[in-house]
Symmetry: C2
């Protein structure tokens, strides 16, 4: 790799640290930076710093925000009595894109994962209980992933939320819309059967 | 997309402009930036600027360099009488990794491509002829790609280099080592047959 200059090697290293970026792609991206205009790359560079400086987490729901509370928590049209519990801020985008959900969110910023040493106290679960207690919440929809950690977290939350006597629901898992039955895995099929409803 | 803050939207936009990065990956990378430490991202950000400021092209061969001449042109152990002509600085890495080539390079910074309006005068071809004239070059190895533009460029160069009465060669195309014959395309097979040698 002696053929790269030191600064190029450093930049390739930075790209290689990113998720899903291998050695080849890191090289391609570094060459893209090299070929782009100075102005464009100055904007890119300061954009990275700006994200780190300006983006905080909403004090109520844990969503990304540049102010104390996020756009959704501040929106008077959103139903504040319904809270959808998600793992990461990016899960929220999926719900927002659907345009069908008018409640609020609660971002856990992770899942319970004993193998990684992450327990309920490491997540934003206390904050959820506080909201349920203080904000007259009527329903909590748990939308954690359907893997082992997501299910564990969902079970834990539903158990801990029992005493509050509110509605606690889990989003439905089943066959994706438009999917050919030939390609459905066993686990999904079992969930789809369990979740069947009368017609 | 109202759920993203403005600075996150900007950063996602920057990543999306990069080659091979789609909307999903751009989001993932922006979240990676958000989750990384401030120090790490400050280093990443300044690494981009440093590449733009420090990396130049070697005055002789067109390779990346932080000085007037690149490491390879400055290396007294390299055979300065053999020049391998390549399209882009990154092609050089492949040759260097093989560890088998001890000559120098000449980077064209592109290929002849009439459809894109790129003619010989837009490439570092004058500089190649100047080197051949002045630097006692004995052999020029043309290693442009085997697509239409690469072949056109190779033909043009071999024709124009005729008057200099030096050896001009083209690297061999054929069956890749370890490849199963079942998966070889027609064009490669034809090149492999044309390039056959007695055993």
């Amino acid at each position: 790799m002696a053929a790269y200059t030191k600064s190029m090697q450093e930049l390739i290293g930075h790209f290689k640290d990113m998720p899903g970026i291998g050695a080849k792609t890191a090289e391609r991206l570094a060459f893209f930076v090299l070929k782009s205009s100075n102005e464009e790359m100055a904007r890119f560079s300061s954009s990275i710093i700006r994200v780190k400086e300006s983006v905080k987490f909403c004090k109520k729901c844990g969503n990304l925000s540049e102010a104390e509370f996020c756009n959704i928590c501040n929106d008077p049209r959103r139903d504040k009595t319904v809270v959808c519990v998600i793992e990461e801020p990016k899960d929220l985008i999926l719900f927002e894109k659907s345009g069908q959900y008018r409640g609020t969110y609660h971002v856990l910023l992770g899942v319970i994962s004993p193998l990684d040493g992450i327990g309920p106290e490491d997540l934003r679960i206390k904050e959820l209980f506080k909201r349920v207690k203080e904000d007259k919440i009527k329903e909590v929809i748990i939308a954690t992933d359907s893997n082992a950690e997501g299910e564990t977290t969902a079970l834990y939350l539903s158990k801990e939320l029992k005493p509050f006597k509110i509605k606690v629901s889990r989003i439905a898992y089943g066959i994706p819309v438009g999917e050919n039955m030939d390609y459905i895995d066993q686990a999904t099929l079992i969930r789809a059967l369990q979740g069947r409803h009368s017609m």
